[in-house]
């Protein structure tokens, strides 16, 4: 019996560690070192991501790291607490707007009061923003989203399953509508407004020329006087730090009393109550913590894109997170991170693949033939499945649509074959090698 193998741990503390075995500690350490080396453009290792994602791989990778933060949040709500929400993009939006109001440049300045536009007191070009530093706007983004989460929780904790999903979809549409209604907050209805850059300053931005930030992310320049980094390299290290921090917090939550209570509600809500877990209180807490992650993720998302319009905080964005959980494995942190990695980088990988195929199509031999078969420019006698040129609806599909198809197929396959997602596959591989060469 596989479970009869004794667990040779010297203490409960070791047993409860985030990475209980030396092997796991080593693997994560090496992975982080490798990632850093790749980001620092160390010759041989950095060839891997460049090959898979192209020379500008760091930019989609940074975006993926931001999605990791938000995905850890949706995992706490959907995967851990078992409350299916389609409103994650709404809470990301709340965080993003909290960030821009506090950190963004405001021509309206301190005097900018909400709803003035409705009263006809402000020009439509007025923007509210206090130009505060990141120390304030980033945590505030999380707090604001959590506060809004608590605000809607009286409704959210009373409905379950499909009904909760529908209520939270409602939030997304309400949020988009409010965004369009309040241009002094959200900027132009389509193009949005400019978010503050990712940079650390001690206090408010100087208006004069003696603008001297502590650590500067937005321009090329040295860190600590010697480390010469590009802006996306700097962002990478900052975001990696944020993801690590967010992961440790989520993991701590899961291994403590509160995390168990949330999981108990997910698995058997009546039994959880009979064990003394106040169901609604804990659902509200799950909502608030999940929203805080969404808020921080949303703020970073907007900062990374620099300009975001209200329609961006859409149902489609929320569904992305459900795809992440289904593909990665809901309820586990490793699964969430794997799912985000996969779901957020796959489109760039497919795009890169098409690019290299179109290069290959120019060439001769087998590679060229395969590429010519796969790709099509849309002309009449060219039947390849992937369209290279933007064209009208229908077959052949362009790359972005192929990505939808791939997600759809993957979600269905995972739902049927491996409900634990990528995490489940990883577990199987691990268990296989654990028993090697004797499989029990």
């Amino acid at each position: 019996m596989a479970f009869n193998r004794p667990l040779l741990r010297t203490s409960y503390a070791e047993d409860a560690a985030i990475l209980p075995t030396a092997f796991q500690k080593g693997a994560v350490g090496i992975a982080l070192l490798l990632l850093s080396a790749m980001a620092l453009d160390v010759p041989i290792v950095s060839a891997i991501p460049k090959f898979l994602l192209g020379n500008t791989w760091l930019s989609p990778f940074n975006n993926m790291l931001i999605f990791c933060v938000a995905a850890l949040g949706i995992n706490i709500l959907v995967g851990v607490t078992g409350q299916v929400s389609l409103g994650h993009s709404f809470f990301m939006g709340v965080g993003a707007y909290a960030a821009v109001l506090l950190g963004g440049d405001g021509s309206g300045g301190l005097a900018c009061v909400p709803f003035h536009a409705q009263l006809g007191l402000l020009e439509r070009t007025t923007r509210c923003g206090l130009a505060l530093p990141i120390w304030i706007w980033l945590p505030a983004a999380g707090l604001a989203a959590a506060a809004v989460g608590i605000l809607v929780s009286p409704v959210a904790v009373r409905v379950r399953g499909l009904y909760l999903a529908i209520v939270t979809v409602g939030l997304v549409f309400i949020g988009q509508h409010i965004g369009v209604m309040l241009p002094e907050f959200a900027g132009d209805a389509e193009s949005g407004r400019r978010w503050p850059p990712l940079e650390f300053r001690l206090w408010r931005r100087n208006d004069g020329n003696e603008d001297n930030p502590l650590i500067n992310f937005s321009e090329d320049g040295t860190w600590f006087g010697f480390l010469e980094l590009s802006d996306s390299q700097k962002s990478f290290f900052f975001l990696l730090g944020v993801v690590l921090f967010a992961t440790v917090l989520a993991k701590n939550l899961m291994r403590s009393r509160t995390g168990r209570a949330l999981q108990a509600i997910r698995d058997r809500d009546v039994a959880a109550e009979v064990m003394g877990v106040p169901e609604r209180e804990y659902k509200r807490l799950g909502f608030a913590i999940s929203s805080a992650y969404a808020g921080v993720g949303g703020a970073l998302f907007a900062v990374n894109l620099s300009r975001v319009g209200p329609p961006e905080w859409s149902l489609l964005l929320a569904v992305d997170f459900i795809a992440i959980l289904l593909i990665g494995g809901a309820g586990t942190i490793a699964g969430t991170l794997m799912g985000t990695f996969f779901v957020e980088l796959l489109p760039d990988f497919v795009e890169r693949l098409t690019e290299s195929q179109s290069e290959a199509a120019e060439g001769s031999g087998v590679g060229g033939a395969i590429a010519r078969f796969l790709l099509t420019d849309g002309s009449r006698n060219d039947f390849g499945p992937i369209a290279t040129s933007a064209q009208a609806f229908g077959w052949p599909l362009p790359v972005p649509l192929w990505n939808f198809v791939i997600y759809g197929v993957l979600i269905v396959v995972f739902l049927i074959a491996e409900p634990l997602g990528l995490f489940g596959i990883w577990l199987r591989i691990r268990n296989y090698w654990k028993g090697w060469p004797f499989s029990y």
Binding site: M1, F3, N4, L7, S11, Y12, A13, D15, A16, L249, N252, L253, R255, S256, R257, T258, G259, R260, A261, Q263, A264, R266, D267, R268, V270, A271, A272, E273, V274, M275, G276, V277, P278, E279, L285, I289, G331
Partner: protein, 271 residues
């Protein structure tokens, strides 16, 4: 009434209706400290509904339920749990995706204090509390002899083991009253004997009062101090095992009108 001889739990004439169905019809009883009280009756008699009323998962329309003299009617189930009432379920209600250890640790929820914030910080108070309670959980694991399954998700465990884990989860709450809903239903003889041993040990070593709902007449007659018999939601007799066994109403209700001495013996009526 002095604290010493005050009953732990008093159920006074409760009536519970679901639409047209009357699941409990004027049932009343009390449980004394350190007593093992049993409720028996045919299927659908309302035994599980009585448990659900005590833990306030169901709200009886009439009557009163008092804990150490104070009414608990209208409280939420989690508040009742914090009073010191733990239970197991007829159809196992474990947290299926969690391990045995985590299930039993969840039973420690009301005994633990650290907030979500301390939990996310982990180092310091939360970790200390976690380790202390983990040690307590290991004691329960040893007591119930389920060491080999500690790290397994409970949904993968055999039925008899799941029943034990559920008992462990309830014990972890350090309750004053334990409600056991058919703890040996569906078990073979050996598993039944193990479970009976655990129940007796809980009483003798921990001094926890219990209400036992059980179909296995032999077990009930052997270990219960007093017995309540219900049928169609109505109480038809309370008393010592001997009294209940010789009560003609009980015999008729439990075994049907054409009850014979032989069938009675087969079912565990040894009179």
């Amino acid at each position: 009434m002095s604290i010493q001889n005050q009953p732990l739990l008093e159920v006074e004439d409760i009536t519970l209706r679901f639409g047209g169905v009357t699941a409990i019809d004027g049932v009343g009883f009390h449980v004394n400290p350190e007593e093992l009280f049993a409720i028996i009756g045919p299927n659908g008699a309302g035994k599980t509904s009585i448990f659900n009323s005590i833990s306030q998962v169901y709200r009886p329309q009439e009557g009163d339920i008092r804990w150490r003299g104070d009414s608990i009617m209208g409280q939420r189930p989690d508040a009742v749990a914090r009073l010191g009432i733990a239970r197991t379920f007829q159809n196992i209600a474990l947290f299926g995706n969690m391990t045995v250890i985590d299930n039993i640790l969840t039973g420690r929820h009301i005994q633990m204090k650290e907030s979500w914030f301390a939990g996310m910080k982990w180092f310091g108070a939360a970790k200390k509390e976690e380790m202390e309670n983990r040690a307590r959980v290991e004691d329960i694991v040893d007591f119930l002899e389920i060491q080999p399954y500690r790290k397994m998700p409970v949904s993968l465990l055999p039925y008899g083991i799941q029943k034990r884990v559920e008992l462990g989860r309830a014990l972890a709450m350090d309750p004053d009253l334990l409600l056991l809903d058919e703890p040996v239903a569906g078990m073979n003889l050996e598993e039944t004997e193990d479970m009976a041993r655990f129940i007796l040990d809980i009483r003798s070593e921990l001094g926890i009062s219990m209400i036992l709902v059980e179909h296995d007449m032999g077990l009930v007659m052997d270990i219960a101090d007093r017995i309540l018999v219900v049928d169609f939601g109505k109480p038809i007799g309370t008393g010592l095992p001997d009294e209940v066994q010789s009560n003609p109403d009980v015999i008729a209700a439990y075994l049907g009108e054409d009850f014979s001495q032989d069938a009675g013996a087969a079912a565990g009526f040894s009179s």
